[in-house]
């Protein structure tokens, strides 16, 4: 079963590099070493800017300058996760594709169960952290499930005569 939507196998390595970069940035930020000065004052087109963090007199469709630290670092994680999740395996075939789709369905259910539980157990600013984690959670759960299922099937190799 050939899927036109999968990336070439080499993209997995690129994805891993991006994720390593993300982890390095993330850890440094935890130690109060931030990169706000590097990504500060970058011109962007805002479709919507609203709320206590948003400033200015305009709200919709205008050119502005923003600090893009969060945006750039999130992009590293999202692109990295997409590349790792949806690049072809070395031995990609219809069986791997079935495992892939099973894992995706499982991950989607699991992801929304977690979200439902958090809805009723996490309140206040804590829930904003849940929402931020949600940006990446589905792909993370999918990747873990997918590689776990692949590992289980690799383990049956000893049945070879």
């Amino acid at each position: 079963m050939k899927s036109p939507f999968l990336l070439p196998h080499q993209f997995r390595l690129v994805g891993i590099v991006l994720l390593v970069l993300f982890v390095v940035f993330f850890i440094l930020i935890q130690f109060e070493i931030n990169f706000r000065s590097i990504f500060d004052d970058i011109p962007v087109f805002a479709i919507w800017n609203n709320g206590i963090l948003g400033g200015g007199d305009k709200e919709f469709f205008y050119l502005t300058h923003e600090n893009l630290e969060f945006e750039i670092i999130s992009t590293l994680a999202i692109i990295g996760l997409l590349f790792v999740a949806f690049s072809k395996q070395k031995n990609e075939d219809e069986f791997v594709m079935k495992i892939r789709l099973d894992a995706l369905l499982w991950a989607t259910y699991f992801h929304y169960i977690i979200l439902l539980v958090s809805l009723f157990t996490v309140y206040g600013l804590g829930f904003m952290h849940v929402l931020i984690a949600n940006m990446f959670a589905l792909l993370v759960i999918f990747i873990l499930r997918f590689y776990y299922l692949l590992f289980l099937n690799l383990n049956t190799l000893h049945n070879e005569e």
Binding site: N91, D93, E94, F95, K98, T156, L157, N159, E160, E161
Partner: protein, 66 residues
């Protein structure tokens, strides 16, 4: 679905890896098919029947539960 792929392989005297290479899938896939853990696609069944030089029905068989 039942199959006697293992027997057909023994007749041809080829390993799972050999058959996998001939039909363009991984060895794990052939293994999963033989163990009944994976219901293969029609295209793959036709490729395997070609290698074994038999009809698909002679290799793969419906079970009551299917």
């Amino acid at each position: 679905m039942k199959n006697n792929l293992r027997v057909e392989r023994a007749i041809l005297n080829i390993t799972q890896g050999d058959l996998a290479k001939k039909v363009g899938v991984s060895r794990q896939t052939i293994n999963a098919i033989e163990l009944g853990k994976y219901n293969l696609s029609t295209i793959l069944a036709l490729k395997i029947s070609k290698v074994c030089n038999k009809n698909v029905n002679d290799i793969f068989e419906l079970e009551e539960t299917d």
